[in-house]
């Protein structure tokens, strides 16, 4: 097993994991603000970082992926950095933030995905810094000692006080229950997607349990057990809280460990879509390829030239006798050439229709 590991990826993933641990140590002011109750979550998170970086590094080494990765950064840094940054920012909000490409695929589908995405992103933004000890809360010492004053609660980031709020206020209610709001968003999104996956024939035929249903079940389990924690201390006087806490921790840690291997890895892959858009945009500036069969422009010349390199690296050789390539043809041109080759074979065989 060790021999089959990708050395380059192993080194990068180990370095990143070490960096995460160092950032936890220093970000929590040498563990002063680290909450030991979250140690299980920390192990899960560090493993998730290791796995994600390992898989990402292996993925980048594939010839087509590396070509896109290389080209994107080449374009990004070769002049007009700010124009690219602006484009990247716009695309990030539209495609990563709002996932606008899902809307044309179905409105309910988009609503479901958006709710899950926003719920998960908010939950990540809250729980990762909490687990790392980067965020912690304290009582304002002065107000807590004075029974006449309103009690204030303080939020600290990397040990610096960033804001305070009154205990019992609306802001306190929103802040303390932030993860509950995330849970509700995720639950609604998951139910929409569960319904799709359990009723649509096309999905039923092609989906797998571990690839498509398990991720939804995991998200649902995390959200319900998370809500259970609040329910327990609000309405059950904290009875069996240990059991509830362990159940929630188990589901979350399973989710974290599953990120690099399963469907959740698409969250990490998705920004590559922006890279593909930058690639197309830059390619169009450099000129389009014209199909020798249809005489129409069909793709960027850069794309066709790069594909020739990538296919060669992958062991495919589409070079024709005249020095051109089958890849110079548009999809329509390729279909027509195939039909023409079929006609030629028929003509060479007497020319009659055969049955």
């Amino acid at each position: 097993m060790i021999a089959s590991l990708n050395k380059k990826a192993l080194i990068i993933a180990t370095l990143v994991s070490a960096l995460v641990i160092a950032m936890v140590f220093y970000g929590s002011r040498e563990l002063q603000n680290f909450d030991p109750a979250l140690i299980g979550y920390l192990f899960g998170t560090v493993f998730a970082f290791f796995g994600v970086v390992y898989r990402y590094s292996v993925w980048l080494q594939r010839p087509p992926t590396w070509m896109y990765f290389k080209r994107t950064w080449q374009f990004f840094f070769k002049g007009k950095v700010f124009a690219h940054l602006l484009f990247f920012g716009k695309e990030f909000v539209q495609n990563i933030g709002f996932q606008k490409f899902i809307y044309p695929r179905g409105r309910t589908r988009w609503i479901g995905h958006f709710l899950m995405a926003i719920g998960c992103t908010l939950a990540f933004a809250i729980t990762f810094p909490l687990t790392f000890g980067w965020i912690h809360f304290t009582m304002n010492a002065e107000t807590s000692l004075n029974p006449e004053s309103i009690r204030m609660y303080e939020a600290h980031f990397f040990g610096f006080k960033i804001f305070e709020f009154k205990l019992g206020s609306f802001i306190a209610f929103l802040t303390f229950h932030a993860l509950n709001w995330c849970s509700w968003l995720v639950i609604i999104g998951v139910l929409i997607f569960m319904r799709r996956r359990l009723t649509q024939a096309g999905l039923i035929a092609t989906q797998t349990f571990e690839g498509d249903l398990l991720p939804l079940i995991l998200l649902l389990a995390i959200s319900i057990t998370g809500l259970g924690l609040s329910y327990d201390y609000e309405f059950m006087k904290g009875m069996a809280y240990d059991f509830m806490a362990v159940t929630h921790a188990v589901t979350v840690i399973m989710f974290l460990i599953w990120i690099p291997f399963g469907k959740f890895f698409h969250i990490i892959q998705r920004p590559a879509q922006i890279g593909a858009h930058i690639y197309k945009r830059e390619g169009m500036k450099r000129g389009m390829a014209t199909c020798p069969h249809t005489g129409k422009e069909f793709a960027t010349q850069l794309h066709i030239d790069d594909l020739k390199i990538v296919t060669k690296e992958l062991g495919f050789d589409f070079r024709l006798e005249d020095g051109s390539s089958h890849l110079d043809l548009s999809p329509e041109g390729k279909r027509s050439r195939l039909a023409m080759a079929h006609l030629k074979a028929r003509q060479e065989n007497g020319g009659k229709l055969f049955g």
Binding site: P64, F101, Q200
Partner: protein
């Protein structure tokens, strides 16, 4: 994949000379549940300036699919029956590598979805032991789905060919193209 009733003795046979351009297959293809009602089949004029001949193209389901190899997002996969599936919607980044690399010109990029889509041999039907939509409606049987024995009986002067040469590249496929009897390979260059 879940448990299936995929009939491994049934194959796809395409006979281009029989295509009359009626586009019944296009309409039927849009009924396939796995496409989400987008038609994936191609009917186009071979060389409109000189002939009214149309050609029909389904995914050939290559043994070593170029589309899957050039996909930077690992979005295309081949199953145990040799069916090359359409892009995984969660992974596809809409780069069009597969669209431009497929030697048969099959995958389609849906710009609004930012997603590649292609024929997956009506997997919702074939996995249940049924025939693909296009083959069930083709009036001339330019698209035929059945056993080798059936096609040999129906087309005594034809041979199914699933080996193709594009320049220096040999491509073998799951789907067959009907050729004059005795032909073993179709050379495209």
């Amino acid at each position: 994949m879940p448990e299936t009733n995929y009939q491994t003795n049934q194959e796809f046979f395409v006979d281009m000379q029989r295509c009359i351009g009626c586009k019944a297959c296009e309409m039927a293809c849009a009924e396939c549940e796995t496409n989400g009602h987008d038609s994936m089949i191609h009917v186009n004029y071979v060389d409109r300036a000189v002939t009214i001949q149309t050609t029909v193209q389904v995914c050939m389901h290559c043994d070593d699919p170029v589309c899957a190899n050039v996909c930077p997002a690992d979005a295309i996969s081949k199953d145990e029956f040799g069916v090359v599936h359409t892009a995984n919607t969660a992974r596809c980044i809409g780069c069009s590598n597969c669209v431009m690399a497929c030697p048969f010109g099959v995958p389609k990029k849906n710009e609004a979805y930012d997603l590649m889509m292609k024929c997956n041999m009506c997997y919702d039907r074939t996995s249940a032991g049924k025939k693909p939509m296009c083959a069930t409606v083709c009036p001339t049987q330019a698209l035929f789905y059945g056993t080798r024995e059936e096609i040999a009986r129906m087309r005594p002067n034809s041979s199914p060919v699933n080996n193709f040469i594009f320049g220096n590249e040999k491509v073998s496929t799951k789907v067959n193209i009907m050729m004059p009897k005795g032909t073993t390979v179709l050379r495209v260059d």
